[in-house]
């Protein structure tokens, strides 16, 4: 395993870690319909403001969301629709397992 490849897996895992928390998934889901300010996100998700900021910072550090300041508000949005597609695929995998095969 080359050094470069090793680092790639490290990076890939790091990105996946971004999804490895329920609150972060809730936040990402709250951004499905477009960008939202932190306050809006807190209202929608019922997550504490400081905690939401921490999770958003993690998502941002992994390139999963981007932010834009407008006045005193900061608006976040999901970086790429591929992110939602990937999450949907995993939901589909989960669904396949729950759905019992026909007898």
């Amino acid at each position: 395993m080359s050094e470069v490849r090793e680092e790639l897996y490290q990076l890939h895992a790091s990105v996946c870690k971004g999804f490895a928390d329920p609150k972060r998934l809730i936040l990402i889901n709250a951004l499905r319909d477009g960008e939202r300010s932190v306050t809006e996100l807190c209202e929608i998700t019922q997550i504490q403001q400081a905690n939401a900021s921490q999770h958003l910072a993690i998502l941002k550090s992994k390139g999963l969301v981007t932010s834009r300041r407008e006045g005193q508000r900061v608006y976040y949005k999901v970086t790429s629709s591929k992110i939602n597609e990937a999450l949907d695929l995993l939901l589909a995998v989960m669904a396949e397992q729950i759905t019992l095969p026909a007898i």
Copy 2:
């Protein structure tokens, strides 16, 4: 947020946690071309046998891989091609960020 939805996010995050480790990604990748025994996986990936078993158990507990015993060997395979698709999507997201936009 309903109780059910809360649990769904918890479960979804749990599945994502399956990908949140470089060695597990390496193992999943080693299973791209089909099933492999634990010994084969250890050879390919250079992961210690006990450690590989531990990671495989985690992947299995999340429904990401399945196993089948044949004699003294146990063969693992990825549960669904959707899993590789999802991982590829994330790699694409990563690639987009590294690729600099044209000036």
